[in-house]
Amino acid sequence: MKEDFEKRRKERLDRGIKVRSDGLYALMSWRELCYLVLPRLVLIVGMLILPLVMPSMYWQRVISNVCIYALLALSFDFLAHFVGLVSLGGAFFIGIGGYIAAILNTSFGLPPLLTIPLATIIGASFCTLLLLPCLPLRGVYFAIITLMYPLLLARVIEALDILGGTDGILGVESFLNRWMEQYVIIMMVLLFLFGVRRLVIKDIGLVFRAVKDNDQAVRASGISITYYKTIAVFIASAMGCLGGAYMVHLYMWAGLSMFALDFSILPIAATVIGGSGTLVGPVLGAFILVPISELLRAFGTLRIVFYALILLAFIIFRSEGILVYSQRKYQQFEKWVKV
């Protein structure tokens, strides 16, 4: 005899305050303005006061590292979820940006305030050029090539003993003072975070997403997919090169370890933990993972095993990520509905 089940399913509805604060109507009341502005304010203020709250040298280094990885994670998330290109080699951007900045500084004597922007632009151009051959092709090839480039470049530099070989380029200038050192990178992270968020909302962001979801239709509209992918890769590599250029001035040294796997894997792990597709999630993920990796430093290369396993877990179980979960809770509520 069949029983009558009461079938239920979860229904997710936007919270009242979210609906009320959509669009221009948010200006109507303070409560709704707060609802919108508060998370962003917390983020910005939090990041800005961080160096003041943690004045020790050690923690400042940690914060700088967090920011470098945050830039890389941002670039990964942007490319992967808004353009459809999965970059498995963030180390490639760091290494190129870093070496260029080091050369500009040691061989041409330019100060950090010049080398960083120059290295960002030159580095991004160089990276984009090297990635150009695989842009007209299927996404798989981009993944393969970005994976291989840092490994290959490290070996090439070592084998040919150019650019300082295994010792690297020493004697890179540092910043004028500690505060500048800290705030430059924090400002850059905030700048790029909000900048890229604006970019993907604008119409050009639509084109990127169309390239990712439906590239045949984009082609049929007379738009060159390769052109837009190139723009996206340029932006993403600029972020990575910026991080690399900053790093060589932070550690006053450029070397093979800039092509290390950490820079390739941690951003991906940070993105999946923090919540892919949100752009803020990866930054959050970096904030979580980098301090943990500092603690794991004592265990040697175990930390890479750790990131790899995290990545694996997320790929297999396809979890949402912290930010996506929080966003959902903040904006929607759930209730059980009878079917």
Partner: protein, 258 residues
């Protein structure tokens, strides 16, 4: 006879050992509506893909206004004004209808020509997009252009595909089964739209299975069967042809089972 706007010469396309298209040749005169018919698998969509550059030719050539276009990439061919719709519809489902149109308006051609009714200069993309949609029957008062593409019924989506072509101010539109999936009344409202496009100077190629409706609009018909061109001519001539009938309905031989 002036130069045909499109010339397809001995186009052959093989996939492995299979001849999807076998030395297909025809000319398209400017301002015509050419219907392309044939049983399933006769190579109609492959023909579209070859003309528009989505698939490379094995041999033969395609000329647009006497310039060779075969071998060029798809977006370059679209940039010249040869647009197409997709048989399996490909709107940008996660976007609103008018945002669907904003993307083609990013193309170099749209910037050059200003899109449909642009008169040479591209205005604000959102406005242009809604204007085009309105002209194609998306009622502005009922906010239809603002709806998510995923929530629109088939009739509107087919028009959306056409709108995407119009955003480029095309010279040729190749319609791959625009009538399929539509009810008779929906088709009845599409037909005047097609005729209006023709009057505005666009040349059309229409691949269709709905022969009755097709013959109302087209002035020439091409029949494909197993990748070969079977017949070309006026609709009545073509349908009276024995070979065409055999291709669609089979021959009249009865098999003796004794």
């Amino acid at each position: 006879m002036s130069t045909p706007i499109l010339q397809v010469n001995q186009v052959t396309k093989t996939f492995g050992g299979i001849f999807a298209l076998d030395e297909v040749s025809f000319d398209l005169q400017e301002g015509d509506i050419l219907g392309v018919i044939g049983p399933n698998g006769s190579g109609k969509t492959t023909l579209v893909n070859c003309i528009t550059g989505f698939v490379g030719l094995t041999s033969g050539e395609v000329l647009f206004r006497d310039k060779i276009i075969s071998g060029k990439p798809a977006h370059k061919i679209a940039d010249m004004g040869i647009t197409r719709t997709f048989q399996v519809m490909r709107p940008y489902y996660s976007l609103a209808a008018y945002k669907n149109l904003v993307i083609p308006l990013f193309s170099p051609r749209a910037k050059r020509t200003g899109g449909w009714r642009g008169g040479g200069k591209l205005g604000d993309r959102n406005t242009v997009s809604i204007d085009i949609l309105e002209e194609l029957g998306f009622e502005r008062e009922s906010f239809v252009p603002y709806k998510m593409a995923s929530s629109l019924p088939t009739g509107y989506l087919k028009r959306l595909e056409l709108a995407r072509c119009l955003a480029l101010k095309p010279e040729i539109i190749i319609c791959d089964e625009v009538f399929s999936g539509l009810s008779a009344s929906e088709i009845a409202s599409m037909v005047p739209l097609i005729e209006r496009l023709q009057m505005e100077g666009i040349t059309l190629i229409m691949i269709e299975h709905r022969l009755r409706e097709l013959f109302r609009v087209s002035n020439r018909v091409l029949v494909l069967n197993f990748g070969e061109k079977l017949r070309e001519g006026l609709p009545d001539e073509v349908m009276a042809d024995e070979k065409v009938k055999e291709a669609y309905f089979g021959s009249e031989e009865v098999v003796d089972y004794d």
